[in-house]
Chain length 223, copies 2
């Protein structure tokens, strides 16, 4: 048995990953100017890998490259967040329905423990991680991990908004109880109820959007 060396990812890919995380968690605030040279200096690498990371990020709508001017973390656009929710809801509803019809005992157990883990999260970031893990698990059960990849990309815009509410004002209890409803519906192999539960959940996630847009106007696009 040979251990596959697990090729180290290219520098460009690593930089992309790190910047992406920082942007999604709003450690890099919307509107911030990035610079190939500055980041290259910080990591002690050349500009080229950084540039390639920027290209990847631009394709994900996380930064905007303005030629000869600069590269900027894109501001949050309310309409884009709503569009992301629309797409995510459409996909996740379909995924949840399939999960409801295909879930076995082991999968249901994994879902239940995933929900339980959410109650233990002690801050917003931990909760969001547990949240994401559960949604992904539903996709796995449905045999639609590929669909999750699409959701994962689309929901980045939503996540930026959610990370802004770092105070635990967010009603995590309500979200958890919604998660519980979804899991129960899947466990009962009830596609209709699963769909309804997912839709209700999606409607709630963006509850704070208007307040946040008002509170951090410099991070949002428009007037």
């Amino acid at each position: 048995m040979e251990t596959i060396p697990l090729r180290a990812a290219s520098i460009g890919a690593q930089v992309h990953q790190q910047l992406r995380d920082a942007i999604v968690r709003t450690e890099l605030k919307p509107g911030t100017a990035l610079s190939e040279a500055e980041i290259a200096a910080r990591y002690e690498i050349s500009r080229q890998p950084v540039r390639e990371a920027f290209i990847r990020l631009a394709q994900e709508y996380l930064v905007e490259i303005r030629p000869q001017r600069g590269t900027f973390v894109r501001r949050i656009v309310v309409s884009e967040v709503l569009d992301a929710r629309f797409v995510r809801e459409a996909i996740e509803v379909a995924v949840a329905r399939e999960a409801a019809s295909r879930a076995d005992a082991a999968g249901i157990a994994r879902l239940q423990s995933a929900v339980a883990a959410q109650g233990l999260a002690r801050n917003n970031a931990e909760f969001l991680a547990a949240d994401e893990a559960m949604h992904r698990e539903i996709a796995v059960i449905a045999g639609r991990e590929a669909a999750w990849r699409v959701v994962d990309q689309v929901k980045a815009q939503m996540d930026r908004m959610r990370y802004l509410s770092y105070q635990d004002v967010s009603p995590t209890d309500r979200l958890i109880s919604q998660h519980r409803s979804i899991v129960e519906a899947i466990a009962a192999h009830d596609a209709e109820r699963a769909e309804a539960a997912v839709r209700e959940h999606m409607a709630d996630i963006l509850q704070q959007l208007p307040q946040l847009a008002q509170r951090y106007p410099e991070m949002f696009e428009g007037a």
Copy 2:
């Protein structure tokens, strides 16, 4: 009134666009080896923009970059085509329902003429272009152009398969009549019927997939 200069896209972006088209139309066949140097020479540019185009294509799952080995047009994977269809159906159903509830007279007229145009297509490529135009128009009517961008990216895998059937064996008549059903449902503001029509349509699009996989085994992945 000043004419905006319309900045020329960077070379890298242009190369990306051209290669993407060629791949989706299967002019560049699945499995083909690409080469930074070779393409750079053909366009008489340097390797760097070509490399950046490769990175963009890799992120769209159209090519696979194998470090120090080469870059290859990804072979068509049947399961990925089916996954693409799943995601596309989920989104387009939601879009069609919204279109049904919001369509006005002008939009309906545009849809009807789009369907009419499909009957005039004289080859597979023309038909597919008209097909795409109509689906996009539905998204416009629904006010969900952003959702269409996601569909557009996901459906590239499906399109490669469809372009393979360049002989007019494909039952375009049937597809057109399905399109007509979708338009009628939207015109009647009947979301339920629109959803059903879209689902039926999506089921039909991949009808030829098994035959194509058997006919062009070198373009498909797996045994």
